[in-house]
Every structure is written in structure tokens, then in C-alpha cells.
Symmetry: C2
């Protein structure tokens, strides 16, 4: 576990926890680490939502696929970030999304019940963990609001431009690389891929942006 300390210290779940206590706490929580190859399923839709996941290395996508196979990408999770916490904390009996490794990834899994309920050792950090979870869930809610601001736009162009402008603001640069290929971007924006490609070309012709592969520059 020791080699993950650097990442775990950045994890919002453990903020305010002293490093010397962290390893002990992980044992107490029954944390375990699993590895997943690219495209492998970390948690499948329909399973009980018992675990909170922490990305240690690599990244995962939270996706939902409907009856007709349409994929919708809800978010991407990077090292030190959490996933599954909302479903675990709300104690829903089946998780409605699938978590897929985006690349070879190491994932820490912690049974949520171990966090929420005081352990026999009474290790005393539960209050801090619950506070951290609350903060994290509030932040996630904000992120969902942002995603809904994007997808609530009615046209492909508006969705794309809203996304790019938000991303530019987030990284504080007018030139940046996005974490999606075309199909993934389309599934995130909830539009048709070919229409998205066409729109990007159009924006380029109109001099509104430059782009090359996944790198964009707003002009």
C-alpha cells in the first residue's frame, strides 16, 4: 500500500487525515487494490453498490448504455479521485452505471459500510471521512450541473462550444487537449459522431477554432 501514499494523500476522501494514520486506517477499512486492463469492467451495471472506488493509476469512465446500445459517458475519473460513492452512500441496491478502465489502471476498493459505521476498533476517523464524503458529493453535484449545462443545449454546435469553453476555463488556457476521442466526445455531449466531426470542421472553416486530433484552440 505504501507506494500509493502519494496519491492517496491527494484523495478528497482522506483530506485532513495525517499520513501516519492513513495506512492503519486503510487496513481498518479493509481497503484492497485491484488491477484492470484497458477496456475491462471495474464495476458492472446492476451489481449491488457496496464499494467506493479510488483511482490510483490510470483512469476510468463512468458510462451508461441503454437498451439499444447507445453509450452515454457520464464522467472520467483520474488518480486520487473517487467513483461510486453516491450509489454506495445512498445504499441503492443496484448500481445503474458501468465503470470501465480507460487504460491499464489500479483501483482501490473500500466497502462503504466500513466508512459509514464506526468500526470495533473505534478508530475515530469516521467523522472526518463522513465530512470528506459530504464535501466530495457536493463537488460531484456541481460537476453534474456543469454537464447538464452542456447537454441541455439544443444543438451540436452549442454543446461542443459550451464544453470547449468550460474546458478552456478549467485548464486556464485557450489551447488544450481533451481526454476524449471523437466517438467518446460525441457520447459525452450526447450527439451523433459524424455530425460532431462535421461541426468541428465547420467551426474551423469559420475561424472559430483550430483543432488537430484531440487538441483544440479557441480563437
Amino acid at each position: 500500500m505504501k507506494k500509493y501514499l502519494k496519491i492517496l494523500r491527494e484523495c478528497p476522501l482522506f483530506s485532513g487525515i495525517e499520513e501516519e494514520n492513513l495506512l492503519r486506517m486503510l487496513t481498518c477499512l479493509g481497503a484492497r487494490v485491484e488491477s484492470f486492463d484497458k477496456k475491462y469492467t471495474v464495476i458492472a451495471e446492476g451489481n449491488p453498490a457496496k464499494y467506493i472506488g479510488i483511482v490510483l493509476t490510470g483512469s476510468v469512465q463512468i458510462v451508461r448504455i441503454d437498451y439499444f446500445g447507445n453509450r452515454s459517458i457520464l464522467s472520467e475519473i483520474y488518480p486520487s479521485e473517487l467513483f461510486g460513492e453516491a450509489f454506495a452512500c445512498a445504499e441503492v441496491d443496484a448500481i445503474p452505471v458501468t465503470v470501465i478502465a480507460n487504460e491499464p489502471s489500479e483501483i482501490m476498493l473500500i466497502e462503504c459500510a466500513h466508512i459509514l459505521h464506526t468500526c470495533e476498533n473505534n478508530c475515530g476517523f469516521h467523522q472526518q471521512l463522513i465530512f470528506n464524503l459530504m464535501k466530495d458529493l457536493a463537488t460531484k453535484t456541481i460537476l453534474f450541473h456543469q454537464k447538464m449545462e452542456i447537454t441541455s443545449k439544443r444543438s451540436t454546435r452549442e454543446k461542443l462550444m459550451t464544453y470547449l469553453m468550460m474546458y478552456a476555463k478549467k485548464v486556464n488556457a485557450s489551447r488544450f487537449e481533451i481526454p476524449f476521442d471523437r466517438q467518446e466526445l460525441a457520447d459525452y455531449l450526447e450527439v451523433d459522431r459524424s455530425g460532431l466531426s462535421a461541426e468541428i470542421s465547420k467551426l474551423r472553416r469559420e475561424g472559430i477554432l483550430e483543432s488537430e486530433k484531440n487538441t483544440f484552440e479557441l480563437l
Copy 2:
């Protein structure tokens, strides 16, 4: 305050709090009650997100209106439910949505900082309140997932049917009244109103549903 006890006991923020402690706690938290007429703004976009609101009577809508005046309805909040908690807990400096009274409503407002930080009286309920907020935020995240499941559908028909089927499941009845008029439903589903009306008529002609005003029956 006493007359609101019945509703406040149902409020997820206060679950696990003894009734005899509730009134005292409200004073400690500096809770206050304000009244709003129909269509009046409870909290306007852009203001600092300091307050958690609790609907006591009536109801409010959480809406976002973009540059071009397109309205998007994010959710409706009914008595004993919370709003604004995500923005307040995440301590964002400007709330990105507007809260509007749906009908004459009484709203309790509590400064979030009073909940998160232990008060001078050390009244000892903060841990429970923080746990409750965490639970509430997890539940809200689930609700957002459901809304995104609706709006991620590509056609008006699919959005409408997904919404109606979810609503039927929620109230456990195939015949039910929805809380939206046509324009509001369109703004919630993020589609064009006239197209929505047309789609409802079409579904009725096809024998898939019955409807009269805001009452629907799935066949």
C-alpha cells in the same frame, strides 16, 4: 417555528434528531423563515451560495436560464425537502441556478456555515447534521442520474416515455398526474413544447397512452 415541526421532522437534514432538540437547534443555527408569492425568486443566480433552503409549504423550482433565455428546469422541491445544499456545501462563490417559488411558499433558510462548523455552544448535533447532508447529497446525485437518463435520450418520444415510465414507477401507478404543465415538461425534458404536444397526441393515437391535461395513463 413550532407549527413547522411536523414538516421539519420529515426533513432529511434533521433525521435522527429528537424533536425536543430540534427547536433549540434551529435557534442555534440561526434558521429563519421567509414567504414567497408564486413566481417570486427565492434565490437568484449569481448570488453567493451561503444558504441551505428547506421548503416548508408550497414548492419551488430549480431552473437555469441561458444567454438566449432558454429555460431548463432541473428539479422541483416539495415540503420537507432541501435545496441549495450542494452549492453551499461545496462553498462555490456564485450559485449557478435560480430558485423560484412555484406557488405561495414558506421557506426556511439556514446559513450553511452554521451547520458545518461547530458552534460556540458546542451543541453537539453537527456530526449528525453532516451525516444527514452526506446522505441527502448522495440521494440528490441519484436523482440527477435519473434526470440525465431522461435527457440523454435522443428523441422527444424517448425522453417523454422514459420520464413517464419513471414517474409511474415512482408513484407505483399506471395512472398519475405530473407536476408540470406542457411548457414546464418541455423545459424539464429539454425539448420543444409544440413538438412535445404533437408527440403526446401521436402516442395517444397509437394507443400507447391516455392523457388529459397533466394526467397520464400508460396502457
